[in-house]
């Protein structure tokens, strides 16, 4: 920390305290600041300051004061991102929105919730479910990630198969531009085509365009019941065909998760039930909806695959359901036993390309001599690819890096995308121009410039560094 920045830090902190911030909201000591320089990607930096506004007025004050000093601003939610979206990669201040956590309104008549960005997604779900309503997006981190983070990264989740991702539920937003002006986009109308759809633009913009201060979210009636089944298949192709068959037979699952052979082998000892040795792919299928429909669809599912599947287990109650989900929940710690480190990417491919990409990844794994473990969302083509390695071994580290490059190439060849739900952040920005043409990137950058001419809002994210 240079002397200049420590003077700046003190000056800023004093100014904020004078304008009504309480000490708890101004993190200005070096040790504490180190806690605002990381996320789930294990990068470690230290911002100049970390500020935790309580309301819009304070957010505006921060933007004004930061503007006077032309400081860079890094918005942050829970800091649980998987692509470094909130990492203060350059000198600048963190604006943590965790204290703006009011559920402002649950409008039951219009089925819309109005929330502040710091609301924990799981808590919103709990609050709306008490009124018989349902907010479907369910990223794995929902118990601790904020809705603001979900919106800016456009987080997905297992239920995306039936319901879509976070973005599909954002009806409107209020956000602050870096110059402190507020913009409003969207509204409570289901049909709304007045002007450019800035809501969709801000969704998934990774905090590079504006700081979101209020979110309107669409809600649905809560499904009456959920039925969970686990199906084991002898090959990925058979499993992929099964997924296809489900849709064709008018079965409408809310979730279809899959585990590949390596995942199955890793998690098998931790499971409260036995999986056949020949199981190459496991599907975890959930069907939700009215009692009667769920029952008939589940029966249909059983009938349809009773010959092809090696095993079908239906959960009869909540305990059994939880048991089946162990296959997915115990997976992350289980694969950690394969190698000390993992590089995990969350590529997505069109549904039909799943068997192809899995087989290509299998041969890539042999070629680079590192285990590649895949699991994820078979219903929407979003695959979590984990290259398992020991980063302390230089040869493995190089091969791991090479593998990631190849994985992205393969994905894009099959019409896929670099990221299904984690975002680009600063961990994948180097590969960004693999996916998009120069003209496309230039258009995106022009938009960025229109919102943030000085490149002060979350710089170093999405776009490759020149």
């Amino acid at each position: 920390m240079t002397e200049l920045s420590s003077i700046l830090r003190r000056e800023m902190a004093l100014k904020l305290l004078k304008s009504g911030f309480i000490p708890e909201q101004v993190v200005a000591t070096e040790a504490a600041l180190s806690c605002y320089g990381y996320d789930a990607t294990r990068q470690q930096t230290e911002p100049l300051l970390a500020l935790l506004p309580d309301n819009e007025k304070q957010l505006k004050t921060i933007l004004k004061i930061a503007g006077e000093k032309s400081l860079k601003i890094f918005p942050r939610g829970a800091g649980s991102g998987m692509s470094g979206g909130s990492i203060p990669a350059e000198d600048g201040i963190i604006v943590s929105l965790t204290r703006m956590k009011q559920i402002l309104e649950i409008d039951e008549d219009n089925m819309i919730a109005t929330v502040e960005p710091g609301v924990i997604t799981g808590e919103l779900q709990e609050a709306v479910s008490r009124r018989g309503l349902f907010y479907p997006p369910d990223p794995a981190s929902l118990a601790f990630s904020t809705i603001g983070g979900n919106v800016t990264e456009n987080a997905g989740g297992p239920r995306a198969v039936k319901y879509g991702v976070t973005g599909n539920f954002v009806m409107g937003l209020e956000a602050y531009l870096v110059n402190g002006e507020k913009i409003k986009c969207g509204n409570k109308c289901i049909k709304s085509v007045s002007g450019y759809d800035l809501t969709s633009l801000l969704v998934g913009s990774e905090g590079t365009l504006a700081i979101i201060s209020k979110i309107l979210l669409k809600l649905l009636p809560a499904p009456e019941t959920v039925k969970t089944s686990l199906l084991a298949f002898s090959s990925m192709t058979a499993a992929a065909q099964a997924v296809n068959a489900m849709f064709k037979q008018q079965i409408n699952p809310s979730t279809i998760e899959f585990l590949d052979q390596h995942s199955i082998n890793a998690v098998r000892p931790a499971l409260p039930f036995t999986l056949p040795k020949a199981a190459d792919t496991v599907l975890l299928v959930e069907i939700d909806g009215p009692e009667a429909t769920v029952k008939t669809q589940a029966e249909k599912l059983n009938r349809l695959f009773q010959d092809e599947a090696l095993l079908i287990i239906d959960a009869e109650n909540e305990t059994e359901r939880e048991k089946l989900w162990q296959a997915r929940r115990k997976l992350s710690p289980a694969i950690a036993n394969i190698a000390p480190h993992k590089i995990n990417e969350d590529i997505a491919v069109p549904l039909a390309a799943i068997p192809e990409i899995i087989s290509r990844l299998e041969s890539l794994s042999k070629e680079i001599d590192l285990p590649i473990v895949c699991f994820g969302h078979a219903g929407d083509g979003n695959i979590h690819v984990n290259v398992m390695l020991d980063k302390n071994d230089p040869s493995q580290a190089i091969r791991g890096h090479k593998a990631i490059d190849r994985i992205f190439t393969l994905t894009l060849e099959l019409g896929g995308t670099l990221s299904g739900e984690h975002g680009i952040g600063n961990t994948k920005s180097a590969y960004f121009n693999k996916e998009w043409t120069p003209a496309t990137i230039a258009t995106m950058q022009a938009l960025k410039k229109a919102f943030d001419p000085g490149n002060r809002l979350n710089p170093g994210k999405i776009f490759p560094l020149k």
Partner: protein, 462 residues
Amino acid sequence: MREQSPQPNRAFSARTQGHFRWAQISTLIRTFSCFFKPKITCKVLTHKIDIMTQSELAQELKKCVKCGACMAVCPIYRQTGREEMVARGKLNLIEIISRNQELPDAWIEAVDNCLLCCSCEENCSKGVKITEIIAAARIRQTAAQGLNPLKKGAFALLKNRILSIARFIKLGSLLQWLLWRRLPRHSGLIRRLPLPGTDEKTVIPILPRRNLDDILKKRKPDPDLPPVLFFPGCATRYLQPQMGLDLIYVLEKLGFNAVVPAEFKCCGMVTWGAGDAVSNLKLKASNLKVFAANAAIKTVVTGCASCGHALKEYDNLPPESEILDISEFLFRHREKLEKLLKGRQSRKKITYHDPCHLRKGQGITKEPRWLLKLIAGENFVEMSHPERCCGAGGTFGLTHKELSRKILKEKTDAADATGAEIVTSGCPGCILQLTEGAVVADSKWLTKHPLSLLAGLLRSRN
């Protein structure tokens, strides 16, 4: 939960009996020296309390991948929203401040702001031993700054034979009425005049004239019944002896003779939490002597969640001896108990709060619920999030009153929402905190240990 130490130091247990003091001093010198002399890598203490060596600590810290799952359950983070206050932030601070560095305020505040409720540990997919790390950090802090004088005084009472906690409380029981008055509905005291560190809603326990040991002096146990060792714990012993009598009564009804050695000292939990390794070690060694002297009795029961949690972590317990929470013990003898109750049930609506040291510390959730269903049948209702900490956290409620009250408020709201008349919990600390919660929120429900309800039913004639 915590793994057993791979190589328990046998030499130590021998030493504890003979030349305890010397062994202890030399161990402690090694303990604290590990903070200052990086080269020492010995396994510092032989007990489980005990702090990890530097290399163990470093390895444990490395396990955290900063996924953030601790944020979902940490009661402190829930209230503050501050990253330094959640496990991953605390571990980050503990990791970056090296051994030789002075402790920055943020470090001290973060380490201080922990209830040791184990919620993060229960929710950690990497199995990081977070509470042990925090305890180690507190030992470091105590070594650097010394212990808070109030705690120092209190811990001295726990250890000292002459100026003992028992005598201190007896004195207090005479003087308490000068400054405190009885609560109208609940069991507890509330201040008469402004006292430092309290407000008009602070509830303290009534200090009884006669503690459990005094009362038990006149007891004539039936020596023919199979014996069970009963570890009452300080709260039961000195503050709520009735709880201890209830437990002894229930054991007798089930056909067991409760053996209650007066030599038992504090389980050590409170000193462990305060980073006072010296006191912790002394208390444990005293207790281990008592356990060794009663080694013939294999079953040890306690009605206190924290004591049970602490005792289960003891190394060098006599072989085959087994520590059980009273709910576990009763569950094992459920058939007999069901017969004894003859279908008698409480007609009051009852709910239950999971003590952290029972649920997260010992993994016990099923047995207390079985017991309450036995006691109240359909009248037992779950509150929302029974697993959330009540904010007591040993002395946390006293040292961080405002934050503790905020945490407590959510708990009392959840209890209110059930419409229950009695809120139960298997931990004297939680019970006291919940009582304060009821006073603060002006709620109608009473707080009880499930065991007291059971004893009440067994005593009732029907």
